[in-house]
């Protein structure tokens, strides 16, 4: 299994508070992704990174920001959490984007915003 660690695995917080989720990889892959998974919507891309300090928006980026200061770490921040951001968040990594390279996933973070 790919070495991907997401932390925390579970979090409950209140509306309006900042939240940061961390994804750590040991594979030295260039590309990292953040998805959210919601019933009936499958996985939707929030942001992705194609290198240190290089990031881009995905399909559902509003209300989220990301940072990547080291190859191994990709942080997802909710500046002011809202109830609509209650979801399961997955980090993924790949050697390249799309193409023939599959993405490998972490075990997810379950975030509840009350």
């Amino acid at each position: 299994d790919a070495g991907i660690t997401q932390s925390p695995r579970h979090k409950v917080t209140e509306t309006g508070t900042p939240v940061t989720l961390r994804c750590h990889q040991t594979e030295n892959h260039r590309y990292m992704y953040w998805y959210r998974q919601d019933p009936g919507h499958g996985l939707r891309l929030i942001h992705y990174s194609y290198g240190v300090k290089d990031t881009d928006k995905g399909e559902v980026s509003d209300g989220y920001s990301v940072s990547r200061s080291k190859t191994e770490d990709f942080l997802l921040t909710l500046e002011s959490a809202t109830s609509s951001q209650t979801s399961v968040y997955f980090c993924a990594i790949s050697e390249s984007t799309g193409g023939g390279q599959p993405q490998h996933f972490g075990d997810g973070t379950r975030l509840s915003i009350l």
Binding site: I4, Y33, L45, S96, T97, P102, H104
Partner: protein, 112 residues
Amino acid sequence: AQSVTQPDIHITVSEGASLELRCNYSYGATPYLFWYVQSPGQGLQLLLKYFSGDTLVQGIKGFEAEFKRSQSSFNLRKPSVHWSDAAEYFCAVGAAGTALIFGKGTTLSVSS
């Protein structure tokens, strides 16, 4: 734009019966196609992938998938389902320079 459709939200099959999960994609060129499986509380695990060449690809856990360009399909099959195959299955399409696009998933239940 790329897109993936999994027409079946939920499928129930009997243990030992055959399985086929449908996936249709939209993409202008030859796509890269993937099937993932997700057990409850877990991340997604890659089952198999298609890049080019032989249109029938073999994956892990006894799964296979067939790429049919004329039908824009990449259906997942298994000859005999086991209770442990109950999970959610996702089809995904990729292209150079973009992240994977996922279908909304099909939940498989296995009855005894």
